[in-house]
């Protein structure tokens, strides 16, 4: 059933290509065609439930840098389908919004914008959702460190009164950080590289 759907979509949208997948049928689509393809899937192939919208950052310098991934579910055949769209290269990645098809995409796209900085053209209300308005970074981009970056708090009044800001988390001694991919142990687990304080040496400033 899903295989037929993918074949039908490939016939009507020639720029669609296969995408390797370990579970559900999947294909790559050009970002511009995504709303039309998803509309065809929703209206013509019973993939009427938008389960999830998310993105993958393939690291700085990678081409494509970002891929937006849609997971559709069919309430009739109970199958999933994965549609992936690479963001066109550029300083400000942008793909068309699908909020016109599913109002539920609104929050998903806001989250992707919040975490990756991918803009969705045609989105009615593209604001940050999990981080606060005015937060200067995109936390799920690969160059953003796990500990965080110092950033001003949301409320200018609070900042001027107290002088506090959002500080990076102290990482000395943990968490036990590891990295993805096939690499040797020392590279994959640069745990506790910040040795400014350890069990033997006291934390600076602590009495």
């Amino acid at each position: 059933m899903s295989a037929e759907t993918v074949a039908a979509i490939k016939a009507s949208f020639p720029r669609v290509t296969d995408r390797p997948s370990l579970d559900h049928p999947a294909f790559n689509a050009p970002a511009d065609d995504v709303p039309e393809i998803l509309r065809a899937l929703r209206d013509g192939h019973s993939f009427d439930f938008l389960a999830d919208v998310t993105a993958i950052d393939w690291a700085q310098g990678a081409n494509p840098r970002f891929t937006v991934v849609y997971h559709l579910f069919s309430t009739v055949t109970h199958e999933y389908l994965r549609v992936a769209a690479d963001c066109p290269p550029g300083a400000e990645p942008e793909v068309p919004s699908v909020t016109a098809l599913w109002p539920g995409a609104n929050w998903h796209e806001r989250e992707v914008y919040d975490m990756f900085g991918i803009r969705f053209s045609g989105h009615p209300d593209l604001r940050r959702i999990l981080m606060w308005d005015g937060y200067p970074h995109f936390p799920l981009r690969k160059e953003f460190p796990l500990a965080g970056i110092e950033a001003p708090l949301a409320d200018a009044d609070v900042v001027s009164e107290t002088g506090v800001s959002a500080k990076p988390a102290p990482m000395a001694g943990g968490p036990f950080v590891a990295s993805s991919g096939e690499m040797n142990l020392t590279e994959a687990e640069p745990r506790a590289k910040d040795e400014s304080w350890t069990e033997r040496r006291e934390k600076p400033g602590a009495d």
Binding site: L22, A51, T54, W102, G104, I129, L130, P139, A178
Partner: protein, 408 residues
């Protein structure tokens, strides 16, 4: 009062525009008892009627997805406890199955049965909590006392099984943390036997309660079309009459062996969502009884997956080979092939999905958590318009969300 007295009809004599009311803005939360955590709803009111409601979320955002990219697959299990912290066992299971799908790993029947039992117990405990809190929201204190009593019994069983009442961290990639203790399934069966009459008592406190019905019937109606368009899942979707349940439609962990019904609502209002949750607890008891009756013997974890599941503890301490294997597993993580996997499990709040992108090795490249509470809350701006303020409390309670999962 003189017989010919009449209240002055000021409005009819007023110039147009003179008596128009001013809109008031009201912020409900982030620390308001009825918002069940740290949700803030920014509302615009015309008198007592809500004209606009904008949920503000993210107060509990901890960056779980970022954290997941920086640790091995097994190290992330405790973080899944803290998603929907009212049903950690169900989250553990959903996460473990998602990663197992990546490795194309099938766990043995006993492991599947234990996972089903724990997930259904988690469902009962989560619904008990949701029901008790909902009762308080709409002014029925007693229900909470009853449900918490039952929930406590479940938590004792969780503690006996996992060593923790709340943050269980029970699943492992390819199995579980440990086998069930001696006689534990019998005690779960005994819980089921005494629970059913009490459940009837609890539900009878609300189901035909005039006050409760007035507060919930016809309030917060979600149409079938809206429920699908907004991506609602779980009891909120089924309350609107859509018979979707991943345990039936895409059975995982051996759910196809069990006989149970999927309750659906007819109106899609708060009352229907309450009824669906009540019935789901009865169905969970049915599943529990079947799972206990044919509880399989055999291994409780995958056998032979040396790069994924740890060897037995006594062997680690006595045999060099197993010691090395355990060391590699702990430091480098369970070794996964490269690829992408998306798996959704039917959790108490709805479909909890994990999208795992692997480049090989023991650490995910990207882990997206599709949280049901996040999607269920996104319909709130539409649902609250036209409702009274007190209805908003009723609607929030009936959506039964958990902010730990919504904000991740």
């Amino acid at each position: 009062m003189p017989a010919d007295f009449a209240y002055p009809d000021a409005a009819s004599r007023a110039a147009p525009g003179e008596f128009e009311t001013e809109k008031m803005s009201l912020s409900m939360g982030p620390s308001h008892p009825s918002t069940h955590g740290v949700l803030r709803v920014q509302m615009e009111l015309d008198g007592e009627v809500v004209t606009k409601a904008q949920p503000v979320i993210g107060y509990l955002h901890r960056g779980d997805e970022k954290i997941a990219e920086n640790m091995t697959y097994n190290q992330f299990v405790p973080y899944t406890d803290r998603l929907d912290y009212l049903a950690p066992l169900a989250n553990n299971m959903a996460y473990a199955i998602a990663v197992e799908r990546l490795a194309k790993l099938e766990v043995p029947a006993r492991c599947q049965a234990i996972r089903v039992i724990t997930a259904e117990m988690a469902r009962i405990s989560a619904h008990l909590m949701g029901l008790g809190a909902y009762g308080i929201d709409v002014g029925a204190w007693t229900v909470f006392m009853y449900t918490f009593n039952e929930r406590e019994k479940l938590y004792r069983l969780f503690e006996e099984l996992t060593g923790a009442r709340f943050t269980t961290s029970y699943a492992r990639i390819g199995g579980l943390a440990r086998d069930v203790p001696e006689g534990w399934t019998g005690r779960v069966g005994a819980f089921c036997d005494q629970f059913l009459p009490i459940l009837e008592e609890i539900l009878s406190l609300l189901t035909r309660n005039k006050i409760f019905m007035d507060r919930t019937t016809g309030i917060g109606v979600i149409s079938r079309e809206d429920a699908i368009a907004y991506g609602l899942t779980g009891p909120n979707l089924r309350g609107s009459g859509v018979p979707l349940d991943l345990r039936k439609d895409r059975p995982y962990s051996g759910y196809e062996q069990y006989d149970f019904d999927v309750p659906v609502g007819t109106q899609g209002d708060c009352y229907d969502r309450y009824l669906v949750r009540g019935e789901e607890m009865r169905q969970s008891v049915r599943i529990l009884r079947q799972a206990i009756a044919k509880f399989p013997e055999g291994p409780w974890h995958v056998v032979g997956a040396r790069k994924i599941f740890a060897p037995p503890k006594e062997k680690i301490l006595t045999s060099m080979e197993e010691l090395i294997q355990n060391f590699m597993l702990v430091t480098e993580g369970p070794q996964m092939p490269a690829g992408e996997v998306y798996f959704e499990a039917e959790n108490p709040k709805g479909a909890l999905g994990f999208f795992v992108v692997s480049k090989g090795g023991g650490v995910p490249w990207r882990l997206k958590i599709r949280s049901p509470s996040f999607c269920n809350l996104s319909i709130l701006p539409k649902l609250c318009v036209g409702a009274m303020i007190s209805d908003v409390v009723s609607i929030l309670g009936s959506l039964d969300f958990v902010m730990g999962e919504c904000d991740r």
